[in-house]
Symmetry: C2
Subunit: 148 residues, 2 copies
């Protein structure tokens, strides 16, 4: 399948949710908004803090906000924070490999790895939360027509 871990997937959801504004969001709030378990969301947010994608405010009325502008945060950042560096095969990241001398495929794997890295790098949170089909509020138009 070649699938992201669930935590990475969740992480992207959490980040996308928080990208909507600069408010402080508690773990409880995020969890209920995304319909996820509070401890899980809490764990994810802690990991994101450690990786400096999110900043936390301690104490009552505390919570989390994005550490940077949504445009400055890529999916690669989030996936990296949750799952560690992307390496599609063992040999595509490891510094050495026992079979290296006989193996001609390693370079190719590293190339493929780069392409994937790049694909995730190019998508920022801003693009992630952009609605696919923009919903047009027709009420304003109708009002204007009525007033004509």
């Amino acid at each position: 399948m070649l699938r992201l871990s669930k935590l990475a997937d969740y992480g992207c959801q959490v980040m996308a949710y928080m990208a909507s504004d600069k408010a402080i969001h508690s773990a409880t709030e995020v969890a209920s908004a995304l319909d996820m378990a509070v401890p899980t969301v809490s764990k994810i947010l802690k990991m994101l803090v450690r990786n400096k994608l999110v900043v936390s405010v301690l104490g009552a009325k505390g919570g989390y906000t994005l550490a940077r502008m949504p445009a400055e945060i890529s999916i690669a950042d989030i996936v990296g924070a949750m799952d560690g560096p992307i390496s599609i095969t063992e040999c595509s990241s490891e510094t050495s490999c026992a079979r290296e001398s006989q193996c001609s495929t390693r370079g190719k794997w590293q190339g493929i790895n780069l392409i994937i890295q790049d694909a995730l790098d190019k998508v920022s949170l801003v693009e992630m939360i952009k609605p696919k089909h923009q919903v047009i509020d027709t009420s304003a138009i109708r009002t204007r027509r009525a007033s004509v």
Copy 2:
């Protein structure tokens, strides 16, 4: 990490090995050449046969060969055979998702999925086995110089 399963990785190694010629290779032979356990190689070859990337010859002196020319077999084919279809998140392949109406990220995930699919599609076995730095046989050159 976003990593291929080991079986998919092994599968690529096995296919790359078999791409070197059109001979019939037994599981035992492949296993010893790649320094892997015979039952494991055998399992992988069976999966590749079921997915029509490899054809088998039954009986004594039997074994396996590629079903198509190496140029006509991509890494995507092999990974697909071993790991099933690529879908980086659950929602990037599934036909529906409970949260679909509120979710704006799905389209993006599907796009990222396509890029990865494409990257694996573009690499054929031929490229995979191409030596990175071509080893130049200098003996011929030296011979010629000597004969001048």
